[in-house]
């Protein structure tokens, strides 16, 4: 599923009352099945970009079009539904729910799209090498295992777009490769578009297309506009 951002801007109100411009993307495209590594400095707006793409946050203006659907034009409930059904999310800190087992964490994401399927959840956990750890809760799993559960959860609803926010930042070197391979292979097998945010040049080097956020995100232009106004 293709992704297209057009003239997307996002700012936050600061406690002082001023505006902090975070996103100002004139245009950004990701083709169906394409895999992109997005690199950028800390505080450069990477997470905000992912939140805007996934519909967690609405941009101040502009359009986010995913597979021909204008996410920004949707009502919040429709955006939630769209996110549940079409977008997979892998977080830097895994964000697994500690009260739920590995299997239940995967099922949870499926439940919100109304497609809870225990067999598929088990199969996914099997594919990420956790067949024997399905009933374990996150605190009982290693960091690498937790991230693999998070990957399985992100893939559970057969998304068309996978957003990964520094998925290897919290895992050790040995597991980094495994996790990356898992994500990339799963996306390739299912023709899922992948936008992976990383600050690691090593990780980025594995991708055919690497985009620097600062190359297409120019919030400083908004700052200047604000200054002149």
């Amino acid at each position: 599923m293709s992704l297209e951002l057009k003239q997307v801007q996002k700012s936050y109100r600061e406690p002082s009352g001023g505006l902090l411009h975070v996103l100002n993307v004139e245009e950004f495209r990701l083709q169906q099945g394409e895999q992109i590594a997005l690199v950028g400095s800390s505080g450069g707006g990477k997470t905000t970009l992912l939140n805007v793409i996934s519909g967690i946050s609405n941009p101040d203006c502009g359009k986010v079009i995913i597979g021909g659907n204008d996410v920004t034009a949707m009502q919040e409930a429709a955006r939630d539904r769209f996110r549940a059904e079409r977008i997979g999310f892998v977080f830097q800190t895994f964000n697994l729910l500690p009260a739920f087992s590995a299997l239940e964490n995967v099922l949870l994401g499926m439940s919100f799209s109304g497609k809870a399927n225990k067999a598929r959840a088990s199969e996914l956990l099997g594919r990420v090498g956790l067949k024997t750890r399905m009933s374990h809760r996150p605190p009982q799993l290693s960091v690498g295992e937790q991230q693999r559960v998070a990957v399985a959860r992100a893939l559970a609803n057969s998304p068309s777009l996978l957003l990964a926010d520094e998925p290897t930042a919290s895992v050790d070197l040995a597991n980094q490769e495994t996790v990356l391979k898992l994500i990339r292979d799963a996306c390739s097998e299912n023709n899922v578009s992948l936008l992976l945010v990383t600050h690691s040049s090593e990780v980025a080097s594995l991708f055919g297309r690497v985009e620097k956020l600062s190359d297409f995100n120019k919030p400083e232009l908004l700052d200047r506009k604000g200054d002149s106004a």
């Binding site: 967690i56 409930a77 939630d80 539904r81 964000n95 009260a99 949870l108 439940s111 799209s113 609803n157």
Partner: protein
């Protein structure tokens, strides 16, 4: 995975806090449930809406005392009626049936009240349209007894069982006579179930049951409104030799004569109304005199239930409702306090596609699980309390307690718990609803 499963996981995660809050609800519901059950038992016990007789005639004194001793057999009689007065009532042409009862003794085993009466007690209905059904035989010969169903069950007695009775219920003062069970009453749902019936004559002839002759004479003269000066010495001696002069009964159950299918101008059967009128006139006449008192037990108990028992229950229910509200507030505090820690959890769910209404419903479901779960546990505990307490309450009060009694009012607790849960879960649910996902994920 449905909302309740997700909510249950969260409840389990905070097991200690959840258990304590559910326990506070359970304790409130336990109190309410046990009060409802006990009140129901008391109400059923004392609100026999019909009585097989028109009046109970007893000595002057408290109406309530007379009913509690003669009908419910949970209070000892204070005074007695002269036996000859009973004979007078029996001879009254307006009275169809006059059945004497004499109380005061108890069975050695089980401490059940002994009632001395005549065979008429069993041939008359104990309540309107309800006759006694006896397995075995009627009271015929000396030392025969008929026992109530609860006596048979609790003492393990059957036809042929023999037992002794204690004088005035004092354990050390056992009468020599050995009584034999000849009949067992089918359950009536009335105090008859916990009563042992013997022939009045047996009771009167037992040691210590007759009053001194002179005392009996004085009482009889008082009944007929005379003094010893009104009689010659020979006449007084004749009184003294009367075999009934020293005998007493506790009270007399009286039923007035009804005309068969009496009808007024409109063709309506008014025989019951006529009997009630006769009873009322008789009652008024006795009120004016100094000999006896007549009461309708249904009216007396109705007054007691409405004015005293009903008000006590109302006060208890209000107090217990407040306890449950406080328990509900503790659920609110527990869930609300947990919301700060759970902002991220909620944000993760929202990021996975959960709608605002979904996370609101999950929090509300938690509240419902705690309230309804605690409520159900309280319901079971309440009945356990009744089950455990029933033998003690029975022995202390003389009431028959059904340990498995259930009150329909208890069903109202279910919607009440759901309503309470919805109220206390609303604000935490709203907090979840309003969670800023991007901010909470960033935290």
């Amino acid at each position: 995975m449905n909302l309740f499963t997700i909510a249950w996981k969260s409840v389990k995660q905070r097991a200690l806090a959840s258990s304590l809050t559910a326990l506070s609800v359970a304790l409130g519901v336990m109190l309410m449930s046990s009060v409802l059950v006990l009140h129901g038992i008391i109400k059923r016990t004392f609100s026999q809406d019909t009585f097989g007789y028109d009046l109970i005639v007893g000595p002057k004194g408290s109406d309530l005392q007379l009913v509690l001793s003669s009908v419910y057999r949970i209070q000892p009689p204070i005074e007695n009626l002269h036996y000859k007065y009973y004979l007078q009532l029996k001879a009254n042409k307006k009275i169809e049936v006059a059945v004497p009862i004499a109380l005061g003794d108890n069975s050695q085993k089980g401490n059940f009240p002994i009632v001395g009466t005549t065979g008429d007690y069993f041939t008359n209905d104990y309540a309107y349209g309800k006759s006694f059904l006896i397995r075995g035989e009627a009271l015929k010969k000396p030392l025969d007894t008929i026992i109530g169903s609860a006596v048979a069950r609790k003492n393990g007695w059957d036809i042929g069982s023999q037992f002794q009775i204690t004088h005035g219920g004092q354990e050390e003062d056992v009468h020599d006579e050995k009584f034999t069970v000849v009949g067992i009453l089918k359950k009536t749902g009335t105090p008859n179930d916990k009563t042992i019936f013997i022939l009045l004559q047996d009771l009167l002839e037992m040691e210590g049951h007759e009053q001194p002759v002179e005392e009996g004479l004085d009482k009889w003269l008082k009944v007929i409104g005379k003094s010893k000066d009104d009689f010659t010495a020979e006449e007084l001696n004749a009184f003294r030799h009367d075999p009934d002069i020293a005998k007493e009964v506790t009270s007399v159950f009286v039923k007035f004569k009804r005309r068969i299918r009496s009808a007024d101008a409109s063709g309506v059967d008014n025989s019951q109304a006529q009997a009630s009128q006769l009873a009322f006139q008789f009652q008024q006449k006795l009120k004016e005199g100094h000999v006896a008192n007549a009461v309708n037990p249904v009216i007396v108990m109705d007054r007691l239930l409405k004015n005293i028992v009903g008000n006590i229950q109302l006060v208890l229910m209000i107090l217990i409702s407040l306890i449950i509200v406080v328990a509900g507030l503790s659920i609110f505090v527990s869930i609300y306090n947990s919301m700060t820690d759970r902002r991220k959890e909620i944000a993760i769910m929202r990021a996975l596609g959960a709608r605002r209404t979904t996370v609101f419903s999950i929090i509300l479901s938690e509240s419902i699980l705690l309230c309804v779960g605690g409520g159900f546990a309280g319901f079971l505990l309440g009945h356990l309390v009744v089950l455990v307490a029933s033998p003690f309450v029975e022995s202390a009060s003389g009431l028959l307690i059904d340990p498995f009694a259930f009150e329909m009012e208890e069903l109202y607790l279910i919607p009440a718990m759901v309503l309470l849960a919805s109220l206390v879960g609303f604000i935490p649910g709203l907090t979840a609803y309003r969670t800023d996902v991007a901010k909470a994920l960033g935290d």
